[in-house]
Subunit: 357 residues, 4 copies
C-alpha cells in the first residue's frame, strides 16, 4: 500500500506522470461544503509549471474534473473524485533511457520494488506530478476547513533557496499577520527574491539544480488537537511532508536548533492573555506532547535539489548490469521549491481537517 | 486514537507513568520466533534510569511479564502482550502542583485534549516512561527481524549533546563496521564522552537541562522496500520518531544540509559492485522515492532539552486562571539523550519489521 | 468513511448513479499481473442490465477506462483506477419525487446522514449501480488470483428466487465440479430456470418484485488462511457481502440450519486423503475458528426483493413533513438476484486476494 | 492481524485460554466516562460459567484489573486496559491430545495458520474464553454510551435452543418494552425456559451438545448513523458477530425470510409520528442502505452446537499423519448459547459506540 492516507477522511491518490490521467478521491468529507472552483484553480496554478525561465517549460493545464461526490455546487459527503487528464507528455524522451537509472530518483528503488513493471516514463507514480492531485485534495480540504473551522489559516513561505536564507525565527504574532506581496514567491523579506532567483539562474547556467527550505504554519488552531504517541500532530504532519517527493528533513518549532539550548530557554512559559492561555515564546512550534497548545504550528521541510539535471552523470544500466552514463533530456525544474509551497499547504490542510472533523 | 501503530503488525501501547502498569501488545507477529529474555532485559536496561548522577535517581526495574502470545519460548503468532508494573512512584510529588502547567510539557495541551480527566501524575500517558513498552516491543521486533531478515542490523549513536558534536557524515561503509566501546554511551569518537558528560554536569549545576541529536541507521536492508507517497520509509519512520517524547526534528541522509548543495553533488551516482547496485555517496540516506536502495538507511532525531527543570518557571494555574510560578521537584533526567538510543532503535525495528513481513 | 476496504489491498469506490462517472481504485496490487480486458468485459456484462424483459431496460455499456496503474498490459503495482462514464441517465425521473422517500431505499436514512446534501438521483452513492466498479475491481482481483494462487476458483449460483429453491446442501466435491450451462443464470438444477423466471414474470405482472438467495463458493483455497477474531474469513467476507445493496443475511456452511443439529452431527470429522487433511462433511463451510481448513468455502447471501416497485406506496414528504404516496416511475429490475452473482463473486475475489497476498 | 477492531475506538484483545492472562485495551474512549465496576462485574458474571449442571463446571472468577486509562473513577481518554488472570486451568487435559485435531474446532486450521507454534491448550487464542475481554470491553462501551447517547439501549434474547423456538417477529414497539424476568436466561416467552433446558439436558445425557439462535436489538438509535458500502451498520456489526466463536450466520430484519416476500410487502412504509419519521413495519431491521432509519436495529446470530463433546469422534493425528479417534475430556458447555447473550450485546455496544463517537 502506499497511496491512501487518513483517519476520518481518506485520501487516495492515483496516476502516473505519463498515463491517461492522475487524480484523487477524498472519502469522509462533510456534506454541504461549498468548493469554489476558482480557488481550486488558483492552487493548481501555484503548483503548475510557469512559463518563466525558472521552471520547466512543460505546460500543464491541470484542469480538474470532479466526477463524484459533488452535487449542485456542494459536497455530498460521499467520495469526491477529481481527475486530471495528462496531456503534453513527451514519453519518447524516456523510452531511450529506460534502463538507465537516474541518480537521485526512484528509478532503481522503484524498479526493484515493482520487479520492473513500473511505468518508467517520467518517474511514473513517483513523479512530482503526483503532487497535482494532492494540491487538488488540499484545496478541497481548505474549503472544508473554511466551513468547519474558519479561524484556522494555513500558509507557507520560502525560507531558503540554495545558500540564500530569509529571516528564520519569526515571533508568534508575525505568522498571523503575514501577507505576501507575491503569492507565487512568498517571502518574509521581499527584496530577497532577486538573490534567490539568481541562485536558480546560476544553477541553470551550469546545467544544475538547487534545493531549499519551505516553512509552513497554521494559525488559529485551537488547543487540544492531536493525540499522544503515534498520532501526534508532528507524527502525522511529518509523515505527509515526507510523502512529498524531494523532502529529506522536517522539523517543528526551533527543530534541530533546540538541541543546543538549555531547558530553561527552550521551554515556552505559559501566561494568561484575557481568557486564553498563551506562551511567550513558541520554541515548540505550537505543539506539546504531540498536541496543539493554541500557538501557531510552525514547521520546516527541507527540499533537496531537483534530481533531474542535464549534466552527464554516472549510473548503471539495468539491462546490461554495467556501469553507464546518463544525460537526462526532458524538461525539468531547476528548483522544485518554487512550486512546493502549495503542496506543503495542501498536505497541511488535509492533516488539520482530519484532526478537526 | 493515539496509541496503536502498524500495518502488518499492530503495536498497541498503554499505561500511565503512575498507574498500576504500562505495557504493549504486538499483533501480527510471525509465529515461532524465539525471544531471548536476556536480550530484552538488556534493551530495557539501556533505557532505564541508571544510578549514576547523570540520570534520574528514580529506580525502575522494568521487568516485563509476557502474559500472552508466547508459548514454550516462542511467539505463537497471536497477540503478544508484555506488562511492566509501575513501582517506586512518588505520586504525591505531583498532587501539589497538578493545576500548574509545566512549561515544555503536555500538561496544558493534554488538559484541554482530555477535558481535565487525564492522569496528571508524572505526565500520565505522555510520560517518557511510555518509551519502556516501546523498547520492549522493539526488542521483540529485533528478535523477529533476526529470524526473518538476519542481515538487517539496527544501530544508533549519540551525535551531539548540547554544543558538543561528534563527526557527522560517515561514509556508507563505516556504518556496517561500527562497534561501540560503551553501548550505554555509543559514540563514534570515544574520547568525546567526557566533554559530553561535562555539558550535562554543567546543566545539573545550573538546575537546568540539555538536548542533543541521535543518529540511527539500518544496514543490510534490501533494496525495494517501502512504498511511494504516504507509506514511504521516511514517512513511516519519521512518524514513529516524532511519537517519541521530546523529538522536534527528523532528517534522512544529509537532511537539511542537502538544501544547500547542487543536484550534481547531492545525487548519489550508481555503480555495479559485483552483483549488486550501490551508490558511491549516500546523501539520500539509503532511500529514493520513499523506497530503500540497498545502502544504509541513515537518519537523525533532534531531542529537545528535558522540559522538567528544578528552576522556578513562569506558568499558569488552571484552577485559578492566573499567572503562576512553578518549581518542579520530582526526579528528572538532565539529558534525555542518554536513554533515547534504545528507543530510537526500538521504533526503527518495529518499522523495518512491518515493512519486511 | 464508507467506501474504502482492505488490508493488503485497498479498494476505493466512488461515484453516484447519475453523476459524471463511477469507478474504483485498487491500491496494493502485485505488479506484473496480466488483466484480460475481455474477461473484465464479460464480468461487467454479467452484471449489466440485459435487454430481456426480466431486467431493467436501462442500457449501460459499462466500458471501463483504466487510467492508472496499468502499463503495457500489466499492473504496475501502483494504484489501478478504472472509470466508467455514466450515460443514458434520465435524471428528471427523480427530480419530481426527490422529497418523497422511497420505502425500502436509503433515501430517508441517507437524507439524515448527509443533511440533505446527498445526490438523490437514482439513489446516488447508494445505488446498485455502484456494484459496477465493485465488479470491475473483482475482475482485476480474479486476474491477480489467477497469477498468485491459480488453484483458487470462485463461483456462485442462484439458490432461490422467490419461493423456488434449487438443491441446497451440495457435497464438498460437487463444488469443484460445478459447470453451468448458462453462466448468466447459473443453476445446479438447470430445469428450474423456467420456474424461477415465472416467479419474476408474475411479479412484473403485479408491478411488484421478488428476492432470492445466492450461494457463493471458493474451491482450491489452502488451509490456514484467515485470522482469529475480528479478521476471520467469515467476518471479512460477511462485511463485504453486507456492503452489497439489498443483502439482509449471510451464512456459512449450514448456517442457521446448523443450530438445530447436535454437535456430534455438526462437527466435520477429519481424515487423511493422501498427503492432505480433509473433512468428510463440510457443515462449517470450509472455515474453523475463522480460518480456512482446506475444504470449499461455502456461504449464502439473502437478497431482499427490489425496493423500487411501480405500485403506489405510502411514504413521507420531507419538504412538507407530511404523509404522502409515491409511484416510482424510472426503470427498475424486478429481481436483483439475476445480476448479483458477479457481484458476490467480485467481493469474494477481493477478499481472498487480500488474504492471500 | 486479527485481534484489533475499530475506527474511532480501537479494541485490542489478547490472551490464550491457558496462558497467564487475557485482556483487552480500548483506545479512543471519551475522557470522563464513569465506569460502574458492579455493572462490569454483572456482565462478566452473565458470561462466566455458572455452577449449574447446564454449563461447564470450570469456575472462572473473571475479575478484571484495570491497569491504565482509568483515574479517580473515570476514563482518562488514553488507552484503557483490563487484565483477567487465568486460574483454574487444567492444562494437562490438553497435552495428551495435542496432536489430535478436535473436529469443529480451530485446532487444524490454527495449526496450519501458525505452523504448529500456537498455544494448543484449550484452543489458545481461539478459545471461547476470549469472549471474556470482549464482554469487559463491551461493558466499558455500554458505560460510554450511557454518557454520550443515553437513549440507546442494547438488548438480546435467546430465540432458539435446538429445536425449541421462541416467537420470532416481534413488533417494533415490543423491543423497547422488553423486560426479562430472568436476565441470565432472557426469553420473550418465559415458559419456554423449561423446554429449552430439556433440550440441553437431553444432549448432556447423550454426551452431545446443541446450538441455537440469539436475537440482538438496539433501540433509541438515531437515524442517519452508519455509512454506505463497506462501513454499513450491517457490514460492521456482522463482522463483529462472526468474530464470536461458533457463529455461522447473521441476518438483519426479516433476514433470509425476506427473500420469499414481494417488494410490496417487504418495503417498510414511512409515516410521520409527531416530529419523527417512522416505518409501520420493520422488515429491514432498522437499516436502509447500511444506515440507521431510527427504527430498532434487529438482528440474529446463529450459534452452532458446542464443538467439544465427550463422544468419541473421528479425526487425524498431526504427529503421525494418520487417521485417529479422539475423546475430549476437559470441561465443556453443552450449549454455548446460554453464555452468549452478553457477548452479542458487548460487540453491539462496541459497534454502536464506534459509530456514535
Amino acid at each position: 500500500m502506499s497511496s491512501i492516507w487518513g483517519n476520518k477522511i481518506k485520501v487516495s491518490v492515483f496516476g502516473e506522470s505519463h498515463g491517461a490521467a492522475i487524480g484523487a478521491t477524498i472519502d469522509g468529507l462533510p456534506s454541504g461544503v461549498s468548493v469554489d472552483q476558482e480557488a481550486v484553480a488558483f492552487e493548481m496554478k501555484r503548483r503548475a509549471a510557469s512559463s518563466s525561465r525558472l521552471a520547466t517549460p512543460r505546460k500543464e493545464a491541470d484542469e480538474v474534473e470532479i466526477v463524484s461526490g459533488f452535487f449542485e455546487g456542494k459536497t455530498t459527503g460521499t467520495p469526491l473524485t477529481g481527475i486530471i487528464r495528462n496531456g503534453n507528455t513527451r514519453s519518447k524522451d524516456y523510452a531511450r533511457t529506460k534502463d538507465l537509472m537516474r541518480p537521485g530518483h526512484a528509478d532503481y528503488s522503484g524498479w526493484v520494488r515493482y520487479s520492473g513493471f513500473q511505468d518508467y516514463r517520467g518517474g511514473g507514480h513517483f513523479s512530482g506530478r503526483l503532487t497535482a492531485p494532492l494540491v487538488f485534495a488540499g484545496a478541497v480540504a481548505k474549503a472544508a476547513l473554511a466551513q468547519v473551522a474558519p479561524e484556522v489559516k494555513i500558509g507557507s513561505r520560502i525560507l531558503s533557496i540554495g545558500s540564500v536564507w530569509d529571516k528564520k525565527d519569526l515571533k508568534p504574532g508575525e505568522y498571523a499577520a503575514l501577507r505576501y506581496e507575491n503569492p507565487m514567491f512568498p517571502l518574509y523579506t521581499k527584496m530577497l527574491e532577486e538573490a534567490m532567483k539568481d541562485e536558480i539562474l546560476d544553477a541553470i547556467k551550469d546545467q544544475d539544480s538547487v534545493g531549499g527550505v519551505i516553512e509552513g504554519y497554521v494559525t488559529g488552531m485551537p488547543a487540544g488537537v492531536g493525540d499522544p504517541l503515534f498520532d501526534s500532530v508532528e507524527s502525522r504532519l511529518s509523515a505527509l511532508l515526507f510523502s512529498v517527493p524531494a523532502v529529506k528533513g522536517v522539523e517543528f518549532g526551533l527543530g534541530f536548533d533546540i538541541t543546543g539550548l538549555r531547558g530553561s530557554v527552550a521551554n515556552d512559559p505559559f501566561y494568561i492573555d484575557g481568557s486564553r492561555v498563551k506562551t511567550t515564546t513558541n520554541n515548540n512550534g505550537g505543539i506539546n506532547g504531540g498536541i496543539t497548545n493554541g500557538m501557531p504550528i510552525v514547521y520546516r521541510a527541507a527540499f533537496k535539489p531537483t534530481a533531474s539535471i542535464a549534466q552527464p552523470q554516472k549510473t548503471v544500466n539495468m539491462a546490461t548490469s554495467e556501469d553507464a552514463e546518463i544525460e537526462i533530456q526532458g524538461r525539468h525544474d531547476p528548483c522544485i521549491v518554487l512550486r512546493a509551497c502549495p503542496v506543503v499547504e495542501a498536505v497541511t490542510a488535509l492533516c488539520m481537517l482530519d484532526f478537526l472533523l
